[in-house]
Assembly symmetry: C2
Homo-oligomer: 207 residues x 2
């Protein structure tokens, strides 16, 4: 792995585990056993490191954005949603402390907003496709809200879960809990045939 990629990967892990505010670039260099000067050669400021990780997060979500063109069944929605939730989990430091992030690095406001808007638009397209193929029935208003809430829930889940009593098995936790609840939110809109399949998908998270 190239030094540049090793730096990004180590920074991501440390930011996720210890929090963006707690981890300095010197700490990342120490963890990698490289000099601060070497790290500085690749990334001038902490902001550059974060901006690059944000770009990678957006790239990870891109296939999900393209996938909506081929959405035909509930399964396609579920796969895309699950992959998106995994990406969110992978880069959770970007979403867990949004206020801090935007205060420290105001230049990231624009790309963060573009990414969120794009995620909502993509989710809305997926839902529209399912409407077209007759898998779900809903008003435009309901689909707008579902799309927004799906992105809201996946964005805010990690912070919110902190405020809940720890889940008792077999209750799902982490992104599995987020996915489970999003499938339930979708449940009133699906047709009879897909209803059983949706219940099956939910059951996979609830054990």
């Amino acid at each position: 792995m190239k030094t540049r990629d090793r730096i990004l990967e180590t920074a991501r892990l440390l930011f996720n585990e210890e929090g963006l505010a707690q981890v300095s670039t010197n700490r990342v260099a120490a963890e990698l056993d490289i000099s601060p000067g070497n790290l500085h050669y690749h990334f001038k400021r902490k902001e550059d490191l974060v901006a690059w990780l944000l770009r990678r997060f957006a790239e990870t979500l891109r296939p999900f954005g393209d996938a909506h063109r081929s959405v035909e069944a509930l399964d396609d929605l579920w796969v895309s949603m699950h992959l998106a939730l995994e990406a969110v989990d992978h880069y959770r430091f970007l979403l867990r402390d949004v206020d801090y992030l935007l205060r420290e690095f105001p230049a990231l406001l624009r790309p963060m907003r573009e990414l969120t808007a794009q995620r909502v638009t993509t989710m809305r397209s997926v839902l529209s496709k399912l409407l077209d193929t007759g898998v779900i029935a809903a008003t435009d208003e309901q689909l707008d809200t579902l799309a927004l809430h799906t992105i809201l829930a996946s964005t805010a889940w990690h912070s919110f879960e902190n405020l809940l009593p720890p889940p008792q098995p077999p209750a799902p936790s982490g992104i599995h809990a987020a996915a489970y609840h999003l499938l339930v939110l979708l449940s009133p809109y699906v047709d009879e045939e897909s209803r059983h399949y949706l219940a099956y998908l939910r059951s996979r998270y609830a054990k």
Copy 2:
């Protein structure tokens, strides 16, 4: 107003406006034109100030918790929800930066969790009452998720809205947007008679 209450009110306003991390107790004292020693006499540490504001937030929500005993119609749900969202807005600094809050003041984890669990339970009771009176029809699973998502959305709304492009009027913003979307989430479950009333309630936010 007693000095103690003036301190709490000024701290709340400053925390909301400038962020919990940015405002020191000395800053609160300066804003009130009292000595740091005077403030210290009332609140030994910043944590005490925050803990008292959290207690007041919980008190503000209590009538909402008791109200569910008398829920009979959609209007009761809407009033309770709206009042709860206003309380959330009033104490938004407690919810906007949860990670920072719990890292700085770990002793607040327990009361924060108790409050969130209580809010979810209350919302679930309100929904159960509406089920009993026939205003909505849904499975237990759907009501559990609706209750959780209502609290999730009201908790996370302020942070999430930061990540969206600024809403264009007549689109609602702030707690009005949160309330509007929660009413839409509820829409597939309401009976025919209440459907028109729900649409009317939504329209009040969407202009």
